[in-house]
């Protein structure tokens, strides 16, 4: 027993190294500029759009549709409240002026972002899901991780996960182009210039319905996006979209 006393004291496990505060550059300038322009533009479009819908809150499928025709969805009279519309008091003329000015910002911004991001390979490197990303087992794993609010840490936090990639690609390459094209398909002048617009969507009233449906999907994306920002650490997330610099969450030890 005494022998033990003269031996070296038992070796304790070394204390884990304190995680380094790692700051990484995560968002490029064009991405950040476009993000904040859109943060304003999309809200103006949604809110002025709701005011425009207030003028005739019924939606139809096909080429025509008015009060005597069958509406697939019909809201009451002036259904959207002042806090959800621009301007807050009923004014179709003003809402149209806002909508069709900011529509240009949306269109020019999207084109500029796409050109820049294909050029600097942001789309190819960061947004396009890889083959491994799209493996069903991987997607299922990410869904479970999200459901448990297990957000990626370390290097993995610097890449978009597959659910992020799918949502961003959907917004950039499907929702926003659809918003713009269904919007143009409601323009009688554009329908004369580009008759394929009405063929693609199956009529002006169908385009109007789809404009509303995709707007609702955009709103759904924004809500989930904001919830994720809050859950993932709002200050770090918002600051990284302003400065580009992101404080990397330290690696979790594997269970």
């Amino acid at each position: 027993m005494d022998d033990a006393a003269v031996e070296d004291p038992p070796v304790e496990a070394p204390p884990p190294p304190r995680p380094l505060r790692r700051i990484a550059y995560r968002h490029r300038l064009p991405t950040r500029i476009w993000h904040w322009i859109n943060a304003i533009t999309v809200f103006v479009m949604l809110m002025s759009g709701l005011m425009i819908l207030n003028a005739h809150p019924r939606l139809y499928w096909g080429h025509y549709g008015a009060n005597f025709d069958h509406a697939w969805i019909s809201f009451g009279s002036r259904p959207f409240p002042g806090w959800a519309t621009i301007p807050s008091g009923y004014n179709l003329a003003a809402a149209r002026i806002w909508h069709f000015a900011f529509a240009w910002v949306l269109v020019i911004g999207l084109i500029a972002f796409l050109v820049t991001s294909l050029w600097n390979r942001h789309v190819q490197k960061d947004l396009a899901p890889t083959r491994e990303d799209l493996a069903p087992s991987h997607i299922w794993h990410d869904i479970k991780a999200h459901a448990r609010l297990n957000f990626p840490t370390g290097d993995a936090a610097l890449r978009y996960n597959v659910l992020q990639k799918i949502s961003y690609v959907a917004v950039i390459f499907v929702f926003l182009p659809l918003m713009i094209l269904t919007g143009l398909a409601m323009s009688p002048s554009m329908d004369a210039a580009w008759p394929w617009l009405i063929d693609v969507f199956g009529g002006r009233q169908s385009a109007r319905s789809l404009h509303f449906v995709v707007a609702a999907l955009m709103l759904g994306f924004i809500i989930v996006h904001l919830v994720m920002v809050v859950l993932a650490g709002p200050i770090n997330e918002i600051w990284s979209m302003i400065s580009g610099r992101f404080r990397v969450p330290p690696e979790r030890s594997s269970p």
Binding site: H56, L92, A93, P188
Partner: protein, 248 residues
């Protein structure tokens, strides 16, 4: 008690909304927003060209009921008299910057070679209706009157009134000479019903409904819109800030 989170949320959205409403009343800011109208018009003209045709549909596509909007029946003794006479004495005056001012009886207009087109009517509010229109091309009337080279716009003076103001509308010569721009006297095989503009209305198929002046009594060719009523080219443009270019 109102929760803090709720207080902050409603306070923030309240501030944003108040900001938007304040911007909405700021004439400089509104001027910037309004400048998009010219950009939209030039872009659409560039893409479509002067003569891009609106789609013409078939009889099978007609709306079962073609609804009307705006004035349902002009509320003046003069119009009531015309309606009682079944518009037999209605005349269309053509004046302003023309070589030969005209006064054309409605019967003579109906006797001119006509165009029939089944087109979609798009209201600024969002609804659409498809109808079959019968009428005379506006270009034919303007050519008969000898339009001056100084003329830039065609103004349509209407019989319906909103308080002290008559309804009127205006278009430029690109749309005035477009083959589908007609002075329509018939809808769906009958003479125009009163709610749809009897006895004479405009069809300008690449723009929204409020440009399609109803109850037309007089066509005036002008060099500028600034001297016509309140100067913005139409009743709704003057009174509630609708865009003059209604191609979208």
């Amino acid at each position: 008690m109102i929760s803090r989170r709720r207080f902050i949320a409603s306070g923030t959205s309240g501030l944003l909304l108040a900001g938007c409403d304040k911007l909405d009343r700021n004439e400089n800011f509104k001027g910037v927003l309004r400048s998009a109208e010219g950009l939209t018009m030039r872009s659409q003209r560039l893409i479509g060209g002067r003569d891009a045709l609106a789609r013409e549909f078939s009889e099978a596509d007609l709306s079962p009921i073609f609804r009307s909007n705006g004035t349902a029946r002009p509320d003046t003794p003069e119009y009531a008299r015309h309606q009682a006479e079944q518009f037999a004495n209605w005349r269309l005056a053509v004046d302003g910057l023309v070589a030969h001012p005209l006064s054309i009886p409605i019967a003579a207009l109906r006797a001119l070679p006509s165009r029939t087109q089944i087109t979609r009517h798009d209201c600024v509010e969002g609804w659409s209706a498809i109808g079959k229109w019968h009428g005379v091309q506006l270009s034919r009337i303007l050519e008969a009157a000898g339009l001056s080279t100084r003329a830039k716009y065609i103004v349509f003076h209407c019989a319906d009134r909103f308080g002290p103001w008559p309804y009127y509308e205006s278009i430029d010569l690109v749309d005035a000479f477009h083959p589908q721009t007609i002075l329509a006297w018939g809808l769906n095989g009958h003479l125009l019903p009163v709610p749809n503009g009897a006895p004479l209305r405009l069809r300008i198929e690449r723009q929204l409904g409020y440009k399609h002046a109803k109850y037309i009594q007089r066509i005036q060719a002008v060099a500028s819109l600034s001297d016509v009523y309140r100067g913005k080219g139409g009743f709704w443009e003057d009174s509630t800030d609708y865009q003059w270019y209604a191609g979208i």
